[in-house]
Amino acid sequence: MPRYKHVKIKKVYIGALILLSFMFFYALTGLINAVTSTFLGFFVYLKNRKSKINQVFVLFCLSVAMWSYAYYFWPEAVDKKTALLSFQLLHIGAIFIPVCYLHFVLVWLNLYKEKKRILKLGYLASFILCCFVFTPLFIKDMVPKFSFKYWGEPGILYHFFLFIFFLYAFYAFYLLLKAYQKSLGTQREQIKYILIGTVIGYLGGATNYPLWYNISIPPIGNWTATLYLIIVAYAIVKYRLMDIRFVLGRGAVYTLSLITIITLAFLLMFLSNQFLSTVSFNITGPLILIICILLFQPIFRFFEKFASKYFYYVFYSYQTVLTDLGKRLTQVLDLNKLSSFIVGTLMNTMKLDRTVILIREEGNGDYRIQKNIGFKEENGISLVKDNFLTVYLEKTQMPLVYEELSLIIRDTPRGREKERLETLRRNMKTIEAALCLPLLMKEKIIGMIVLGNKVSGDPYSEQDIELLTTLSNQASIALQNAKLFSGVRNFNLELERQVGKRTKELSDAYNELKKLDKAKSEFLSIASHQLRTPLTAIKGYISMIIEKTYGEPPEKMKTPLGNIYLSNERLIKLVNSLLDVSRIEAGRLETKFERLSLADVISSVIEELKNVAREKGLYLKLEKPTKLIPEILIDQQKARQIILNLIENAIRYTEKGGVTIKLDVERSKIKIIVSDTGEGMTKEEISHLFESFSRGSAGARFWTEGAGLGLYVAKKFVEIHKGKIWAESLGKGKGSIFFVELPVK
């Protein structure tokens, strides 16, 4: 029956394997506990050597380490003697665990002085017990129990030890529970941690004792001491704790995953043994291992999802809300809406009693309240009255939690900063601010969100802070964008307003000018008309006297009458010029273009002014043109006026010599040149020559006889003909030349 034998051998082999792995498990838990306690002891001590809590924690770790190292050697013991020695040594550690723990709890809760006597008593009892550890009064004998080769039989003092052990453990637990009910915030959270750690640790540790009393429960919970130590160390070292629900959730997920995978491994081993017995374990073993490794991640994820949904559901939805908030932040550009949105969401999601958003002004760096719910207005801004908080947050780039300020202050060396931090803590307490969340842009503070307390009284957890930090980054960008947007919009509005204002000013000024201009033109028009009536009467009567309507006038009156008539004519001309100007300026010039010969027009003007020139002893001549001058389209009256004005002007300023008029054709232009031998002009005078009397003082200054309108009217009339007019002079006393250029077409 070789096959049967083979199976039997295999069964023995597997049985031994399982037993070995059991023994290995216990040794391993001991080793893990030992290493963890040693490491954590050092770690916590180095973290803050001066802290009494840390020192006492080291003591506690030492007792656990002592117990654990010896525990590690117990399953390895080859004979009864070494097994006993291991048990005796591990109990030295075990005796001191509860009292050291109580010591730690008393220091932690600031009850050390109060409960000193109980503690001393505990230490005394422990020492006494310690003295008896190596006697049979403590461990009577080592016998096989359960699947262990050697396990202790309790001596008389062992019962006493257990009594003391649980008494002190329960007492410490009781004190913690009492303190938990009274405490608030971070401390409450820390106590919660330690309490849970204590329960886990002692429950697990307690699995070591049933076998002593022949109850068949193996010490399966031994390893929980490690968990216990880690939790407590974490609570001591960290300012800010993770939400315990989260920690426990994670722990549960890991544990469940591990248990599942181990169960699966055993199941697979069993199945392979049953159905694949021909295949060597050397092949199936690694295969199972690979399968387990591959399956661990999916299983872990499954439990994680499960736990997220049911175990810490609140946290799950809360994260979702904040993620959504982050997304929506980028969609709002209006600063006010954005701020309201942020504050509203934060308060609703985290259930806060108050929140304020402060925005820092560019330039002076002052803060202003952008959105506030719950804080008193003056309080909202009070934290940033001095620069300290801003500088501090820019330095740390981290949210500042009120609960942690006392720890930060504790770790800050004496000096100015410590004082400022203390002031800050007082201020935060006064206004009931629990958290300052900096809004940073390129490491510079652009604003701040100050949060109040949670209505539930819970402190801010590690997750809260992480989420808030993420959120603050997004909020910073969104707020900065909104600020820029509103800046641009305000700038636009301001610009529009300014442009509107300026436009109105301009338009008002323009209207005012237009009104003035109209008034001037109307004045000129009416005044001219009113002036013309008496001029008409004078002209009419003088002409009638000269024409002898009233009989022959005396001989000697003829010259004076002629002079009166001429003077009146001059006045009439002046009034006509004024009327022309008013028409030009009102844009109401009438035109009537005809094809005419300019030479004819010039000749008729010369004819008219011949006598005037002669009386002054001046010559007035039109030079016969060398080329054929074509007829061009002109308004006869205006062309005549141009030439008349130019020649009259020349005669007026010439005392000797005379005036010469020339006509010339150059390409498509006809040029009229009026030159005189008169007093000439300076460049300054030329530059003001064609301005109307109302346009500048220079004109009025040197036009002493005329009104200074002739050349202005001439220029305007030339422009009507799309021509050009200009003057040249070699200087004072050297005569002047006036040019008019008119297009042939």
């Binding site: 009419g540 009638m544 006509n576 028409r583």
Partner: protein, 124 residues
Amino acid sequence: MNNVKKILVVEDERILGEMYRDKFSQAGFKVILITSAEEAIKVVPEEKPDLILLDILLPRENGIVFLRKLRENPEFSLIPVVVFSNFDDLETKKQAYQLGVKDYLIKTGHTPQEIIEKIKDYLK
């Protein structure tokens, strides 16, 4: 005395009106001097003038209004009208010519004698 031409002078300026009346009378015209448009329009059917010398700027109704009323009656629409005014306005001139005036004279531009020359032309 059929040859004596009757001229209606509508002129509100007394001095000017008298001046023209003196001159035109001496030149052999029968002159009726009226100082307002309203009165002038009443006088036209009675007097049936051979020519009207019309000022434009008159009290209340102006010369253009008078012209319009005058042209409403076909009987008088053929009476030659010469405007003589110092109101030298493009728009008014246009209106006057549209209403069929023979000429639009600027008073300061002409002596009474020159106006007589013109009138004689239009009466031919």
